[in-house]
């Protein structure tokens, strides 16, 4: 309680102690009924519900694609070294692998590892950018399905949330 003065460093530490975190941690999702949508609209029946409930990379990939992945240097994963805010982390994935048919992105330290999965039909480029929530510092894994096989690339993203910034 007794706050001695007054250097920015000291007070900074005080602020950090009380810093709020983006709050992605804890309880499980309730299972919610999914409605079938009319044709020519986003089709909820396609949603890989179970894959989004897995807590490990291997389990999520098994649910999603039924196979395991090997590292590849033909995937580019553009993510910040240090995220300015864990609530909005820009992540861009692209690949030069042939016949890419799917891209997925996983945040290993999140409660559920799978963040997003994309279907890439023929004629669409193997490249996607999005913004993700990260609970804490974590390895981010990009997965690309190419010619029936799975490949990955990963990068560590540091997540900290500070006090009187901005």
């Amino acid at each position: 309680m007794n706050q001695s003065p007054d250097t920015p460093d000291r007070a900074r530490r005080m602020i950090l102690k009380g810093a709020a975190v983006c709050g992605v941690a804890g309880l499980g999702l309730a299972d919610l009924p999914l409605l079938l949508r009319p044709a020519r609209a986003a089709d909820a029946s396609l949603y890989p519900q179970k894959a989004f409930k897995q807590k490990s990379e291997a389990d999520a990939l098994k649910e999603l694609y039924g196979k395991t992945a090997t590292p590849s240097d033909k995937i580019s994963l553009d993510a910040p070294e240090i995220a300015e805010n864990g609530a909005v982390v820009p992540i861009a994935i692209s690949s030069t692998l042939p016949k890419a048919s799917a891209i997925a992105v996983l945040v290993l330290e999140n409660p559920y590892t799978l963040a997003a999965a994309y279907k890439i039909p023929e004629g669409t480029e193997a490249s996607v950018s999005s913004r993700l929530k990260m609970a804490k510092t974590s390895k981010v894994v990009a997965v690309v399905e190419s010619d029936g096989k799975l490949y990955t690339a990963s990068k560590e993203v540091k997540v900290t949330v500070g006090g009187c910034g901005g």
């Binding site: 992605v24 986003a42 950018s129 609970a135």
Partner: protein
């Protein structure tokens, strides 16, 4: 009520670059409100982009996608003036859709 969807699609040569932003809370189900109660999960599950009667991109999202989610991808075959249809459905069964012109 304005659409929840904003799209920018621009054709450049044979490639159309699509950027979209959707207004949605994307509640993860892990965050508490001011009174300490968990805010139930409420997030978009599926986003679909269609061009010329064909699905050109499908996104499946979990609770880890940011609020007001953003997406960028590119596909081949779009021309200026073509329609691009975007639609989404969330875990509560809410949906929205929008048809935009490729510029």
């Amino acid at each position: 009520m304005a659409s929840t969807i904003r799209v920018r699609a621009s054709a450049n040569g044979d490639t159309t670059e699509v950027q979209s932003l959707i207004r949605h809370p994307m509640d993860s189900g892990f965050v508490k409100d001011k009174s300490g109660k968990l805010i139930p999960p409420h997030h978009i599950d599926v986003v679909q982009f269609e061009h010329g009667g064909k699905t050109v991109f499908t996104a499946f999202w979990g609770p880890a996608v940011s609020k007001d989610p953003y997406l960028k991808f590119s596909f081949k075959g779009g021309k200026k003036g073509d329609d691009l249809k975007v639609s989404w459905v969330d875990n509560k069964g809410e949906t929205d859709s929008l048809t935009a012109k490729i510029r």
